[in-house]
């Protein structure tokens, strides 16, 4: 599935649900766009052809032997669709996993946070526990098997800094909250969302 096919595929995405809670994100459009470009530079480019910034982040992630093996064994940028049953509704769902491993899903997040603790707070502030649940549901994984790989500013300065990479998973409580938010969205917004998706002609 190409980027365009994925974007226009008529299924509900985590970002649509998140946007319902976070509001309009055009104010951070530049940061989002930069994050997307960085994903391409890191995940869709062979290491040999990565630019200095992406290559240093790649080297920092694989500095840990286990993560080097994980990186090599996993698929990158995997678009997936699945029909979910949520609160009695049949919901076509889609997700694009940055890294899909047979045992878990990892999502790369470029962040301005400088510490692991800040990053953990930031993930909740941006309602990413919704994404963790949604991606896991689409992949058929337990949500605790969704991990963030936080890429901090110090890891993007063109110097390999493994300490600038944060590996973070949500607590069980956070995941439960995320699931409640998804269920609430479906209960209150599903009709409108369905109309929107019907306009796109898939369901």
């Amino acid at each position: 599935m190409t980027d365009e096919q994925y974007i226009y595929y008529a299924a509900l995405s985590a970002s649509r649900i998140k946007r319902f809670y976070t509001g309009d994100l055009t104010r951070v459009y530049k940061a989002l766009e930069e994050g997307q470009t960085f994903h391409k530079r890191l995940l869709e480019t062979p290491p040999k052809f990565m630019d200095a910034e992406a290559y240093c982040v790649y080297k920092a992630i694989i500095a840990n032997k286990a993560w080097e093996a994980i990186w090599n064994e996993s698929q990158k940028e995997v678009a997936e669709v699945r029909t979910l049953s949520i609160k009695g509704h049949v919901v076509p769902a889609k997700a694009k996993h940055d890294i899909k491993h047979p045992n878990f899903i990892a999502d790369i997040k470029t962040t301005s946070c400088r510490t692991q603790a800040e990053f953990a707070q930031d993930m909740m502030r941006h309602y990413n526990h919704i994404q963790a649940n949604w991606f896991s549901m689409v992949a058929g994984y337990d949500p605790s098997r969704f991990v963030y790989i936080g890429v901090s500013p110090q890891s993007r300065r063109g110097i390999v800094k493994p300490e600038g990479i944060f590996f973070h998973t949500h607590t069980r409580e956070e995941l439960t909250q995320g699931l409640i938010l998804i269920e609430n969205y479906i209960e209150t917004q599903w009709k409108d969302t369905q109309k929107y998706l019907n306009l796109r002609g898939a369901i």
Binding site: N64, I70, N103, R114, T115, R145, R157, P162, F166, F167
Partner: protein
Amino acid sequence: MKTTQLQKVVSSPSVDITPKHIEVATMPVLDQLSFDEVKYSCKELDKVVKLIEEAAKADRKPLQDEVKRIIEAEKEHTAPLIDAINKGKANMLGYQNELARIEREANEKAANEAAERLLSGTPDQAIEQVPQLVLDKPTGLRTVKKARINNQNGFVDWALVVETLILADKFDPETLLKGLPAAMDKLNVREISGIEVYEHTTQTLR
């Protein structure tokens, strides 16, 4: 400002004759006679330059001694303070480096634990969250990127170093060219494409 020695020299007879020597020194050199005349005047002017320089130096000496004394007095007062500041900064940096080391090790541990937990079991089996470490936030650090030779990574790829500098328009050729003729002589390298080895001659008054 006292310029006793300098005033004495510039009003001495030896300096009086310099206009004549200036005139002769700047004459065109057309034959051996004019060559000798120009050389003689240049030598005389050189003597005067040295006399003036020495006189000025003598005049500067008490001033420089005074400046030196002030600097020493200044240092006497500031040195213990600067020393204390440097010690304090070193201790602060030591603390922040220690934080960074703890963070580095904790991150390494967290990365290992995360990998271990995520790789265990099956996708639909729940796992415990990896514990997170909370540390003081480093503050006031100024970091600049520098490069140094690290032979642990193998030989330095000098061709790439030079190419990178050239392409980024940050290459200072003078640095490399300074010792190049002597190096070429030593290794019997006759020519290098794009490099002209030439003779640069200066006139001496010997």
